[in-house]
Symmetry: C2
Subunit: 189 residues, 2 copies
DNA sequence: AACACAGCGTACCGTGTGGTACAGTGAACC
DNA sequence: GGTTCACTGTACCACACGGTACGCTGTGTT
């Protein structure tokens, strides 16, 4: 259950397999076989099946956090980020993200805290930057939230349709809308 | 397996229960007990566990389709639709939608065809209306797609945070961006 | 009265589940 | 050479699973 090299290797492989085939309705034995080990080993390293799922969720969270880095503000920066997200090599990982998200929405064990940060973590750095740039606090939050929603919504679209060109056009339209001048109403409460 | 009143009652109750507690990792027996029947009856009416899940997915699809009605174009109309979606009584149903969506992304049996229509069905009527209003074809598609993404993205946000006010502010910001004049660049390929 | 038939419950089957017991490995350290 | 310790395979457990066999209702038909 503690850290170890063997455990890390198994976890890495488990996340890979979960990305490709989902995670929730795979049995310990199925996962173990796919990873080239025995279900006994997964119990040894992760304590229980649920322990394994929790570890996988945490690892997915960690990677998501790691991929955040600096926040996008300009249209060009945002577009570069979208292009990275739309890369086919990330599809499996993104499917896994939405699978875990939906499990968390249903309150499945091991996903506690996932939702708390699923929105906040992405919004707050963007918001801070915008406030620093002189944008009103409430406007900044709404804008950050909208940007996140556009990204995730288009990602859902992309995963379902595979239409990179179409979703990217929609994303570009969004950045165009944002880049219009004088979008902030000064007569605001 | 065929239609019947008893089957309809069970299906209705099953969708309700699936909305409240998810569907994928409930056993036949759990569902049956919650519905006040026996797992034998679910097999009788739906043929198998998978048959039940398929029926539930179809019913959720049907309701989604039914709720489409006329398409939103003006900001006020869109806002009215968002308010309806944001109503707490729909949360459970929306959670179920995203659960099924993620299952479909992983290719689970019974979800075939769900994704094909998950985007197209919502986009095309909006697109038609916009084309009728003289908007360029590709622009219309991008706009419809963006609107759907905003809706679903903010719905994900709302389900995770429960922050109706915040997500609604973000939605309003989006409609403001849309309602700005001269957003269409005539010098377009 | 005899039958048909949709609806339903009980008891059961074989199978796969998550988890445990226990007996090893092989390398590291003393 | 002995001991420790992380790691792993085999065999097993009790249990819940999806599904089936079979028999019992009630209602409507002939």
């Amino acid at each position: 259950m503690a850290d170890s090299q063997a455990r890390d290797r198994l976890l890495y492989a488990a996340v890979q397999h979960a990305s490709d085939h989902g995670i929730a309705d795979l049995s310990l034995r199925e996962i173990a076989a796919a990873l080239g080990t025995s279900h006994r080993m997964l119990i040894y390293h992760f304590g229980s099946r649920e322990g394994l799922l929790v570890a996988v969720v945490r690892e997915v969270e960690r990677r998501e956090r790691e991929s955040l880095g600096a926040a996008p503000l300009s249209g060009a920066d945002a577009r570069r980020r979208w292009d990275r997200l739309a890369d086919p090599s990330l599809r499996a990982q993104e499917r896994l993200f939405f699978e875990i998200y939906s499990h968390a929405l249903l309150g499945r064990p091991g996903t506690e805290g996932f939702l708390d940060e699923a929105v906040e973590r992405w919004i707050s750095p963007v918001k801070e930057l915008m406030i620093g740039a002189g944008i009103d606090d409430e406007d900044a939050e709404a804008l950050a939230r909208l940007g996140l929603a556009v990204t995730r919504g288009l990602l859902l679209d992309l995963l379902a349709t595979g239409d990179t060109a179409g979703t990217t056009r929609a994303f570009d339209l969004f950045t165009q809308l944002l880049d219009q001048p004088s979008r902030h109403d000064p007569s605001h409460g």
